[in-house]
């Protein structure tokens, strides 16, 4: 029994490593810790503050560990009127859904957790539609007026952002002629798709900001001004899950943006190993992207919910349809056919 387990582990070492360590679980959790720390330090520096400096040296790298341990060891409170099963279920499921989306992103040639046989972009969007549903369940299950208001603001925003994002990615699908994310990356070796799909990229980026709920669109929580939006009733470890879900969602959508528009893992050869080279360029692009998102967070004021919804439906949706038509026309003129 034990020997069989050892031989199983040895034979499937690479698969297990991919699932549990690098593009899998450990990387995602490590990114969450890094991103929260980076956001706190970077925003503090832009506000001429220091950020955490006393916990773990000048860089404050132990701060997030201390926060997480404290939240885990705090008391869990279940409201009397809450639907306890859904209350716990939503807090567990919410980080899982964006993490499942990350499984479809190619990190390097051949380094992808789930090879979806040519349909990975469609499956990515199919999984992503579950996120607002669980988001509403968490607000409804707590049975508190603040969580319900927060959950509805959340779903208005998600739908206003999600449909333009889907339609602008259809432009990329048509331009590349494939649904496969790995194939889309390979076709960007000559030119990143942000150049032929510039209008689509603008729509995608604004929709992405609305979906990850960063500051110009952080309407459901409003930086703790509306209590805490749909997360109001969550305490301790369940609140930790909620914060984690936000940042895993940010990671998934930022990785998709890089894969669709900025050449994915493509880049000049620095390391001889193509896998190391691909991972290096993808992580570098990821860091630049989240730095830009955090800079936007601190530079702009918050929109009202009606302004954000109007932006999504009145401007982004027509622009994404216009982008799709332009892509079809351009592809017909250049290639001589829309398919392939």
């Amino acid at each position: 029994m034990f020997n069989e387990l050892i031989s199983f582990l040895n034979e499937n070492f690479q698969t297990l490593f991919i699932i549990s360590v690098f593009p899998g679980l450990s990387f995602v959790l490590g990114f969450v810790i890094f991103a929260v720390w980076y956001q706190r330090k970077y925003l503090a520096r832009l506000m001429i503050r220091m950020g955490p400096v006393h916990c773990g040296g000048r860089l404050g790298w132990l701060q997030l560990i201390a926060d997480a341990l404290k939240l885990i060891t705090k008391e869990l409170i279940f409201p009397k009127a809450a639907n306890k099963f859904l209350f716990v279920f939503a807090s567990i499921m919410l980080p899982v859904i964006p993490a499942a989306m990350i499984a479809l992103i190619p990190f390097a040639p051949g380094l992808v957790i789930y090879n979806a046989s040519g349909l990975s972009l469609l499956i990515f969007f199919a999984i992503s539609t579950l996120f607002p549903v669980i988001g509403v369940i968490r607000g409804w299950a707590a049975n508190n007026k603040f969580t319900i208001i927060g959950a509805f603001r959340n779903i208005y925003l998600d739908i206003a952002g999600e449909i333009p994002v889907f339609l602008s990615s259809v432009g990329v699908m048509v331009w590349a002629g494939t649904y496969d994310l790995n194939e889309i990356v390979l076709r960007q070796q000559g030119m990143w798709f942000v150049i032929p799909q510039f209008l689509g990229f603008i729509v995608f980026f604004l929709g992405l900001l609305a979906m990850v709920e960063k500051v110009p669109f952080d309407i459901p929580t409003a930086e703790t001004e509306l209590i805490y939006g749909p997360n109001t009733e969550y305490s301790g470890a369940m609140f930790l899950n909620m914060m984690e879900a936000d940042y895993v969602n940010l990671l998934a959508w930022t990785l998709l943006m890089i894969t669709l528009y900025f050449g994915g893992y493509n880049g000049p050869t620095i390391f001889a190993d193509p896998v190391v080279n691909g991972v290096f360029w993808l992580i570098l692009k990821l860091l630049v992207a989240i730095t830009i998102i955090f800079t936007i967070m601190i530079s702009y004021a918050r929109l009202r919910i009606d302004q954000a919804v109007r932006m999504g439906w009145n401007y982004l949706l027509p622009l994404s349809i216009l982008n799709l038509l332009l892509t079809l026309v351009l592809k017909y003129l250049l290639v001589g056919g829309v398919w392939g």
Partner: protein
């Protein structure tokens, strides 16, 4: 929650039964992650707000102001507390998960301050256990930062 009774402290936590090194670790991370919620009823709050700006920046010690009681550790009374507001404050205190701490800022909430014969003001210490009092009318931001760091030291030493 309509009677004005003293809030009963929560049951003794698991931490008290743990071995000493683990208890030390618990105290360490709790001391570095104080998330306060402020109960603003008076004019000490303009002084309090500066604590999270560039000059005093209590985030250096991991103090992060939160908006909801469910996620916060420390209830900070900033200003005078009337009989009516005390009911709300007690409800907030009961909503917070254990372990929780209370800081009282300013003379009014500590000892009715300049209104000793008021019919409506109450002292916070009559209703819940207070960890740190900060004297002053209003206390300067330095004094409030010192008070919060005193609470930090108290948690770190496990008192």
């Amino acid at each position: 929650m309509s009677k004005m009774e003293r809030v009963v402290e929560g049951r003794p936590g698991l931490v008290d039964k743990l071995p000493k090194p683990v208890k030390k670790l618990f105290n360490w991370f709790r001391s570095y992650s104080i998330w306060p919620i402020h109960f603003v009823t008076g004019c000490c709050s303009p002084e309090y707000m500066q604590l999270f700006g560039p000059r005093y920046d209590l985030e250096r010690w991991g103090v992060l102001p939160m908006g909801s009681t469910r996620q916060s550790d420390t209830l900070i009374f900033v200003g005078n507390v009337s009989r009516k507001m005390m009911l709300r404050a007690m409800r907030l205190y009961e909503q917070m998960p254990e372990p929780k701490y209370v800081i009282v800022v300013g003379a009014c909430a500590t000892s009715k301050g300049p209104f000793p014969e008021s019919y409506s003001l109450v002292r916070v210490k009559d209703y819940m256990d207070v960890d740190v009092y900060i004297a002053g009318c209003p206390p300067k931001p330095e004094a409030q930062a010192y008070g919060i760091l005193k609470l930090r030291k108290k948690i770190l030493e496990g008192e």
